[in-house]
Structure formats: structure tokens, C-alpha cells
Symmetry: D2
Subunit: 287 residues, 4 copies
Amino acid sequence: MGFELGPNRYGKAGIHLATVVRGEERHEFSEREIEVRLEGDFEEVHTEGDNATVLPTDTMRSSAYALAFEHPEEALEAFALRYTEYLVHASPAASRAEAWMSERPWERVVIDGQPHPHAFTRGAFRWTTHVVRERDEVRVSGGLDELYLLKTTGSAFGGFLKDRYTILPETDDRILATELDARWRYTRTDLDFAAEREACRVAIIGAFAHHDDSRSVQHTLWRLGMAALEASANVDEVTFSMPNLHHVAVDLSYCGLQNDGKVFVVTDKPSGRIEGTVRRTEDVVSG
Amino acid sequence: MGFELGPNRYGKAGIHLATVVRGEERHEFSEREIEVRLEGDFEEVHTEGDNATVLPTDTMRSSAYALAFEHPEEALEAFALRYTEYLVHASPAASRAEAWMSERPWERVVIDGQPHPHAFTRGAFRWTTHVVRERDEVRVSGGLDELYLLKTTGSAFGGFLKDRYTILPETDDRILATELDARWRYTRTDLDFAAEREACRVAIIGAFAHHDDSRSVQHTLWRLGMAALEASANVDEVTFSMPNLHHVAVDLSYCGLQNDGKVFVVTDKPSGRIEGTVRRTEDVVSG
Amino acid sequence: MGFELGPNRYGKAGIHLATVVRGEERHEFSEREIEVRLEGDFEEVHTEGDNATVLPTDTMRSSAYALAFEHPEEALEAFALRYTEYLVHASPAASRAEAWMSERPWERVVIDGQPHPHAFTRGAFRWTTHVVRERDEVRVSGGLDELYLLKTTGSAFGGFLKDRYTILPETDDRILATELDARWRYTRTDLDFAAEREACRVAIIGAFAHHDDSRSVQHTLWRLGMAALEASANVDEVTFSMPNLHHVAVDLSYCGLQNDGKVFVVTDKPSGRIEGTVRRTEDVVSG
Amino acid sequence: MGFELGPNRYGKAGIHLATVVRGEERHEFSEREIEVRLEGDFEEVHTEGDNATVLPTDTMRSSAYALAFEHPEEALEAFALRYTEYLVHASPAASRAEAWMSERPWERVVIDGQPHPHAFTRGAFRWTTHVVRERDEVRVSGGLDELYLLKTTGSAFGGFLKDRYTILPETDDRILATELDARWRYTRTDLDFAAEREACRVAIIGAFAHHDDSRSVQHTLWRLGMAALEASANVDEVTFSMPNLHHVAVDLSYCGLQNDGKVFVVTDKPSGRIEGTVRRTEDVVSG
């Protein structure tokens, strides 16, 4: 019987660091969580126990601190690009370095209309980035997750396929709620990422709010995708994961009440899962 | 050998409901999670298996929906007061009903400066309430939790007790970060709770930001307490749980760098735990 | 307006350590998580920012490691007793030290019937302990949590109180499932805690399995309590938290099937919460 | 500007059901969690809001109950195969159905050496399965996750690559700990899956325990893979995710102690991440 090593990779998860930029008038603060993987020629690491080509995952951790020190002001995407550049340089056996980073927006505390110079409160969602760096190519995505969006009207779901197990009634007015996860692919690596990502975020939230004839989560997802692509010329595709967080109108007939869309059970599990990518058509990209 | 029943209670956790108030110009949305307990004369339930006095926990669930239907516009505290009133009425054997409720603020989406009539995004912290209702007395608290606050300067920790196990260096400038949990006790049950709780929240955040000579988490906790009590005449004590979320400056000497307060390890575990109550002095309360 | 400090305490959570006892024939391994609080005369810490009486929470962490080093073979309860003894000694201002500890059982891997000398796999529940030490008194409890127990029959729930919101049908045969949390109070501090806690665990599981005429979770809780007290003469009361993890028989009539107790929805939320204490009667304790 | 729909899929997560087989002498119990996705020709669902081809995710939920009712005794893999068969049949637009299922082993309570007929306690890990069904092909994997394994000796890590950021010392004796996630690919769909998966589990745990000259997690992963493939002729590749759960020997020199491998800090974050596949060489598979 013979065996061989298939696909493999290794790295670190849960590197958690913060940076402070101490400006004269005010401080900037960021808090970042980092995950990383290397892929390459690591066969003898597995089969022979030979670690000569292994950059320890502990070095992935300690180098992240040092690199953050050099440019604490940097956008998340730029940091991920620079970090993966270090990694492929430091690991000659690696053909590919991949990094996922996230940061919660820490918003400046505002008191009587005045932004405070060094006090912050943590926001509700997370910015994310994903960089894949190979020896001759690099791809960078921005994104956000844990963004909860909800509409109390303007959403329907009907006209669907039915079979013997179908019990869901059609509805022309339901609550639509999701915990949005969006990832957009940048076409360049030299962008003002903070501006790009904010443009995407604003476009997505606006499209969600405006889409008042939603026929399904998929239908809304398509609109969000077009809105993001219209908002940034430097993005050529955007992928969404949009769980359908069901809010089911409670049947109150047991106590003689007619629930006209006032009270809903929030069903934490199960939930629908809608995922999809929207991209520019080829001719436009090449045009 | 003889046995007896000691303290006991029962109830429901994880009741999760949402309400919509469908106004002509705009909708209001709330999402609430409810936990409840009854205490009283339930000895034979345990020892004899006699359920005659048991209001089923399922009824605690279904009644919560019906009661929410009646007043979907109600503040969280008011709902908890009304809900516990129902419970002690429905359960003659109960001497005490206790409810904990929480809700995330779902903020109205704002587009080009215009608040949207029916689209919302979920905020970062949670409002909480706790009601204890006995046959002849009721106490109600408001609160918030999961409020992350952080300062990049204005915080020190030194002059502490040392023994053979003490390795922590003193510092006159550190990052102070906490996930605040505050609970304030109202002196009355007929308040505009939405206004009261917002006043407390604003006062707490402001005091955290302003306290720039913090000598410890305890020192700051005391200031937050005074600020909340000054902000609301209808609150007579406030209790805080303030984990100290450590941000440790990384020693970068291993690679020849001098980390002058730029990069920090965020240590998720362990964390300090600081808890305390601030209240009005007796003579003032009675004055 | 005057203010005063009410109840307050401070400490550390999430101290996570492991110990190895390297015997000649085999190793022993334990993994423990520790939480601790001190209470006492800490008013000026809050009001004046004077840290002279403060044993830093970082010292609570570093001392835990050193104390574990001295007796790595010790039972969890014994370690908590010794640790709190150190704490009240090290903190003259403290009137009370409280520690909560937990450990998962890491079971020795067994291969072809042979226990392995140094390979372990983690078990499913957690052992717990709680020590409250005051200057002139100490109380110690043992316990376990995250113990999932389930019976497919032998459990009923009927004859309960009904009102206008009651929709739950009575049943004479349901699934009874819980995630048990038990805490038993020891009457002495010089026990063979490993033997005591195992006796309680075995008695609780056995009583759960044997109680085939369960009329409610409360009814079963009472039996578990008596069983634990019968199993250990050194325990005088035991407190349980027993969520009722509902398994609801699915109505399959929508597709023409009659579900005769074969398929159930496991409803993660909401769940019932049953809590109660069983103790020896006074005359027996003093007899 | 033109847009097009890229890859997309939809389904349900968090379907949670239990089954009971009520034999004359004893009951069998299983508890399963299900996630599912459909892919296919769903473009107009997104772009036009036309739901004619959409099998609702609610039907994915209700059908899972009905299908479980028909064969409650079935192994997890067999259920996933049958469930995806239903899904591609019920959804003509789908070209692919994918299901992930997991179940915790609920072990029969044993009292005085006697297995109880209908009382169970939940085990520590989870069995998993993954089925990908296309119109003309089906692939099925078994697996397990949340299996914590640890060795107190027999593991080294040295001889690795070093650069300016490397601070990790080499070690010839460390604690090796992981939360194992394994997925093995079956070569057939008509197997006794319960027997196959148990053979894999036993082989993996045994190989972990026996590999006493481990030079790295990768080195051990390779051995686990070979062991699983040797244990089952019906598996042709196995993929592992093995986080390296670091146990760092505490430096106790601050209080004059020499920590000779007795006390360790369990660092919950960050952790190493080692992933890899081991498979039979081609000539063997085709031979």
C-alpha cells in the first residue's frame, strides 16, 4: 500500500493586536485579528519530520507585531498586502501566502458634538480583508461581516416551487433580516482602501434600504451587488453571504387575538443561507 | 436520613421576539430576548410530582408574545413590569416573579442625511432590564451591556501591593479598555424609561472619556457611577461590571525596535474583573 | 448630592493552566480554568485612586501558576482551598476571597484495552469547584456542569395550571433532556475530593436513569438531590440547574405521516430553566 | 456598465432534529444537525425576482423531518445520501445538492456494568458527513470534529527556519495538543458507515498516541492519515485540520522556581493551524 501527501498548508489563527497612532491633536486606534496560511513544497516536513523549510507559526505572530509597528496608520488591506509580502520572502519553500484580517471599527466618542481625541467605543460590524499572494500574482479583497440589516416591510416571498413537504405559506409582506457578509475584489493594490470600502458599505446599506419590491433574498442580493460595483470602479466582483434570519408572525389565535404584523418570533435556528457573486460583464471589464 | 427542599425557582430562557409599530410615516422596530423565573410554594411539585400549581414555562413563552402584541411600543422596562404583573397574577403559588430582558438598539438607516422609514441596522451594545416583583413590592433596574469602551491614554496603574509573585511593572500610561455592563436601579416605576436610560448611557460614556487621571479601573468605575447618578434623579444606585481587557505593549527588542506605545497584544484571556456599586448617601435619598 | 461606594470586588477571570505529573510508569495531566475575586476594604482605591492595598490581578494570575507548580497532583477543590489561603494572606485588606475553578476530565487513551501512559482525550463535561474563604471561615463546594443527560421515555408532564395563554398539550411520554449543572456543598475541607465528586456524579447519573415515573424536571431534580446526598456523607446540600432542553415531536400530518414518537425538533431556544436545592433536614445534620 | 451573476447557491443551516428507534429491549437515540445547499440554474431568481424554480429553504427543513421519520435507524452518511437524492429530485433547476451533517455520540448510560435501555449521556466529539450530489455523480465523506487529543511527551519541534523575527526556542519535549477535525472520503456509497467511521476513529487516536517521535504537527498528521487509510479499504483519502493548541511552560524564575515541565499556560489564542490531506498513491487505487 502506498501513500502520498495531498494539498496541505499551515499557519496561525487568532493573532490579535492593536495599534495607536499618537497624533498631536488626537490619537488613532485600530484593533486587528489576523489569520494566515502558507502553501508550498512542504512534503518532507510531513513525511520525514524535517523542519528545515518551516517558518514557525510563532514567527508569523511575532513578525505581525513588528510589521504593524512600522506602519500603524495603514489600512487593513495594505497591511495584509505588506504582511504577505514579508511571508513569501521569509519562506522560500512557500508558493503562496494567504491572509485574512478583520477589524471592528472603533468609533471616536462624541461628547456634545465634539469628537474626543483619545476615547473610543466599538462599532457593531467588522471590516475584513483577504489577500492571496503567489510568487507572480497577488489578489486583494475587502469586505465586511456581522452587519445586521432588517426591513419591516418591502419584502415578499411567493410563487415558489411546491411539493408534498411544502408547508410555507406565500407572503407579500414579511420582515427581511440578514447578517450580511460581503467580500469585494479589488482590481488594483494601490488604492485608498479606507475610501473604497466605505463607498461599498454605504452603497450596500442604501441598496438594501431602497429595494422595496424584494421578491426573495436572492433578488435583494443582486441589487446589493450592482450597487457596490456602481459605487467603486476599482471593484470587479462582490460576493455575499446573506443568511435569512426568519421572523415568523406569531399565531395569537389561541388567545383570541389577530396578529396583524405586530409580533414575531425570532427563530435563531434554523436559518436560510443565500450566497452569490455579482460581477461586471467581461466586455465592460476589458473595455 | 431525611431531606428537604431548599431554595428553588423555575422559568424560561431565550424567549426571542420582535415587534413592529407600523406608523403612517415610519415604522418602529424592536427585538427582545426574555428570561424569567418564578419562586414560591412549589414543594409538592418536587417531592410529589404534583403539577397543579405549575404554570408551564411554555405559557411563559406564549404569554410574552400576547403581552407584546398589546403594547409593542412600550419601553423594555415597562414591558418587563407588565409581564411580571401577569406572571404573579397567573401563578397563585408564586411569591416572586423575576424577569431579565435585553434588546439591541436597531438604528434607523440614514441615507444622504435622511432617516429611512423602515430599514434598520443593528447597534453594538444591548439595553437590559431586570424586574423583581413580589406580592407587595416591585423593583426595576435598567442597564446596558456589551458596551466596549477604550482610551489610548489618560490611564495609569501603579503604587500597588507587591509580593514574591508580583511581576507586573507599574505604568503611568496604558490603554484602558472594558466591555462595560451597567445596571442602574430606578426609584420609581412610572418613568419615561427610554429617556432615563439614554441619559445614563451618555453620562457613563462621557465620564469614561473625561476621566484622564485614571489610576485604576476601580477609580474610573467610581466616576462613572457618580456621573450616572448625577444624570438621573430617578436612579439611586448603579452597579458596574468592568472587565479589564488588557492591551500589553509588545516587547520588540527581539528585532531591534523600540515600541514606544504603538503596538499592543490584545489578550483575550485572562482579563481583570472589576465590579462595584455607587449609590447616593442615605441622607440625600431621604432629604 | 452625596455618593458612597456600595458592594465591590475585583479579581481575574480566564486564568488557564495545565499541569503534568511525570510518574515513572505514566503521566497525569490536568487542565484548569480559574476565576477569582477579592472583597474587603477597598474604598480609597475607588474614591482616591490609591492602590496601596491592591494586589494586582496580574499577581493573581502569576501566583496561580506558582501554586500549581508546588502541588500539581492536587484535586481541584484542594487547589482552590490553597489558592484562596494564599490570597487572603497576600491581601491584608481583603475580608473574603472567592475562587471558581473548572477542569475537563482528560481521559487516558485506551488502545486494545491498554491505558496509554501519556496520551489523553478530552471528556464531555466539566468538574467545578467554588471556595469562599473569609478570615474565620471557609466553605467549599464541588460540582460539575455541561453534563448532557437524556431519556427517550419514562417522563411525563401533565396536570399543570392552565390559563388563556396555555397551549401546551399534556403528555404522558416525552423526551427529557438537560444540560446538568450540579454543585454540592462539602461539610469538611480535608476530604478525598476526587472520590467524593465521582460518587456524586455516579449517583446523579444513576438516579436520572432510574427515575422512570418523572412527572416534571422538578420531580427528577428532587430524586437527583436525594441520590447525591445518599452517596456522600460529606455533602449536606446539592443545588441543580437543569435546563429543560425541549424535544418536540414533529407534526408530520402535512405529508400524511403519523409521527409516533420517532422524530423530534430539537429547539435550542427557548428552554425551560429549573433550579433547586436539596439538603439534609436539620435534625439529621445535628444528630 | 453591465453586470452578471457569478457562482451562487442557497439552502438552510441549523436544522436540528432527533430520532428515536423504540426497540423492544432498548431504544436507540440520535441527534443531528443539518446544513444544505443547492446550486444550479437560478439566475432569474436573482435578476428578475422569479421564484418559480425555488424550492423554499423551509421545505428543506420540513422534508428533513419526514425523511428522518422513514429511516430513523440510518447512519448519518446514509441519511445524507438519501436526503440529497430527494433534493435533486425535488428541485429540477438544481445541478448539485450538498449536505453537511453532524451528530454527537449519545452514549448509553451504564450502571453497575449494565447498559441502560433508554438513558443516554452526550459524548465529547461530533461525527460529521459531507455529501456532494450532482446529476451523474455522488461523493460522500465521513469525519469527526471537536476531538481533543493531547500528549504530555513524545513531541519535539526544532531545526526550523529562523529569521530576524524568530524568537521561539527549539524544544525536544513539548506538550502536543489539538482539536482534531478529520474528513475521510469513501470510495463507495453502500457501506456499513457506522463500522467504517469507528475504524477510522480508533486508528486515528491510536496513531496519535503511538507517534512518540513527533517532530511537528505535520509529522504527526502524516501518520494519522496513513493509519486511517490502513484501517479502512473503503477510504481513499483523509484530510485533517489540526490546530496546534499551545501549552507554554511557565517561566517561574520570578519567584525562584525551576519549572521542569510541570506547569503550562494554555494559550487559547493564537493557535497554529495545520491542514493536510493524505491519500493512496494512484497505482494502488487503480491496482
